[in-house]
């Protein structure tokens, strides 16, 4: 099929489904987890190691990359894939979420986002049309519409205005689109308000995007609210399109929300935790610096086949972490990504075999 395209290969016993997302740089079997490469690299691992771990798509950030090294430089270097040394699909967030998290540096109005660059302090102005143009120039596989993301405790009027603005921006981005081979996803906003979410989803679906994301979650709300909104929102989105739950989550979240029918996920947890010496295992989080691991010759996770678990003991990883060796972060990140990507692979295997989520639950261990 001509990219971008999406097929639902098999529906699970509940709302979960196995899918195939065909993009300009390759095929992504879904549900899929996207390791985070904000500035063009997944911290601590080479693209070859990512491929070996089973990553088929990564998430980069168009705002960050436009600040540094800049679209023009990336174009001169052959595009984003060349910059990253990565030949498989890339999805970029447009930067709405990142701009909001830079707080005082931004001012949002209906036109777009005025900001001071976090890199060089220069003033910039990002309109939804620019966000699409930048992502098309980067040559990404999936571009995200510019959205306005507000904190969980924002007043209702602000949430409603951000939702309306996000829909307006989505329409403007869609109208500005030049490249049919770059998929464009709309982002559902509306905070924790079901009516706003419904309006947001309905309006976006009426506009017609290649895929839909649910954004504005994990911004400070309680987990049960996240789950409620994620569950309500997906029912508003067409089954024929990929559905992406942004910024999620723990291994348990992946199981839960893949179970609801979400197809794409991203999260910094496996990489950030890896750098901090926290490893995801079947038995839960392993804080590798803990003194009780000093003489432990067991691998981090006996059920894991990753490079780290095949070659390093808990005691060895603890030593490397305490000694400040860069390799500690590399090995823990590699393990965590492998754990996440293996879980997704088991979810897909379950969906293929009609056994969802039994294998995946076994892999997830205490996270199930």
């Amino acid at each position: 099929m001509t990219p971008p395209s999406f097929e639902v290969l098999r529906a699970g016993t509940d709302t979960a489904r196995l899918g195939r997302l065909t993009l300009a740089h390759g095929v992504v079997e879904t549900p899929a987890f996207m390791p985070v490469a904000t500035q063009g690299s997944v911290k601590g691992v080479t693209p070859a190691q990512l491929e070996d771990a089973g990553a088929t798509i990564v998430l980069a950030n168009a705002y960050h990359l436009a600040q540094r090294p800049g679209v023009e430089v990336i174009t001169a270097l052959g595009g984003l894939h060349a910059l990253m040394g990565w030949s498989r699909p890339v999805l970029t967030d447009s930067g709405g979420f990142q701009l909001m998290s830079l707080a005082g540096l931004v001012r949002v109005d209906d036109e777009g986002v005025r900001y001071r660059s976090h890199v060089d302090g220069r003033h910039g102005f990002l309109r939804p049309e620019d966000a699409v143009a930048i992502q098309e120039a980067l040559g990404v596989d999936v571009a995200m519409s510019l959205d306005e993301c507000v904190p969980a405790d924002a007043p209702p009027a602000r949430v409603a205005r951000a939702m309306a603005r996000t829909t307006d921006w989505a329409a403007r981005g869609l109208a500005a689109r030049q490249r049919a081979d770059v998929a464009l996803f709309g982002i559902v906003q509306g905070g924790l308000d079901g009516a706003l979410r419904a309006q947001s989803a309905g309006d976006l679906v009426a506009l017609g995007f290649d895929g839909y994301a649910v954004g504005g979650l994990c911004v400070g709300e309680p987990p049960e609210e996240t789950a409620r909104v994620a569950a309500e929102s997906i029912r508003l989105l067409p089954e024929t399109r990929p559905r992406y739950l942004m910024g999620m989550g723990t291994p348990r979240d992946l199981l839960t929300f893949a179970g609801l029918g979400y197809d794409l996920f991203d999260c910094v947890l496996p990489t950030r935790n890896g750098r901090n010496g926290t490893l995801f295992t079947r038995e839960g989080k392993l804080m590798i610096r803990n003194a009780r691991h000093a003489r432990d010759a067991q691998p981090p996770d006996a059920s894991c086949g990753c490079y780290t678990c095949r070659h390093f003991s808990r005691g060895a990883l603890r030593h490397l972490a305490l000694a400040g060796e860069m390799l500690a972060a590399q090995l823990a990140t590699l393990h965590n990504l492998f754990f996440y990507l293996r879980l997704m692979s088991e979810i897909r295997a379950d969906l293929r075999a009609g056994t969802f989520p039994s294998r995946a639950r076994a892999t997830a261990g205490v996270w199930a």
Copy 2:
């Protein structure tokens, strides 16, 4: 042959020679370069990447490892090879050089070295017998005798005393040896004084070691003095034993001193420079942060087949370095080690083919 053993396979057109050093964990074709893994890891690369780059032996530091995580912990974890996740040979320096470089923290007398640990401040006492026992307990392939290393500007009497003490310690370490499968090397000292070097080498050879190292160089002396002493010292050492020039050097040094007949080398340059964004290439040092590389889509070294050069441009590496991405250090280190190890491989190929050093010179480029 039963390890440890050493054969000279082929003498070159001059004093250079191709050798085979058979050790407990494998065979090292010489001349060989040993990447530095002071605390048990070569900073920034996995053991698998090291193997892929062609490393057959690495250098660790017994003093550092005895401080952290400690011999008893390493033993509980299955020995040094298990700690490192590395199955090929390991040579450890005993820590003489490292102790001296910690300056105010040490006091040396004829008995040994009294120090305060750089890790936890505890007082320790390292005798030459302890140094051998520690390295044997770690299960290394090659142990180094404890030596006293003095700065280049030390007064003559201090240089002479350190040399005599190093010989005495070598004899004591040899007498304390328990494991025949752990090779033990003596270290020639004597500063820049030819007569002292001759006495040191003669005494050590009379004691009889599995190999000999030339130490106490690159401690602040001018390069021509380094070269003179290295050239004089090797003539005092038996051709039937491996000869190790400690702490050397640049690619040019490797060519020069392999040409003199040295068999083993180690240096932090490829790894430390990699972390600082300096890449070794045929054309010389490439400072990757330099603005002129911003839009350069060429690989760091067009003649290089390493992972970094096959997948990343100079501009991409510059971006990753300026963005503070860990991957920049990883990729530069990988390239530098590949450059060093490829150079050694070309030196050996030249020696095998009787063409030394023509291929190696071509590989070394401006370093030849």
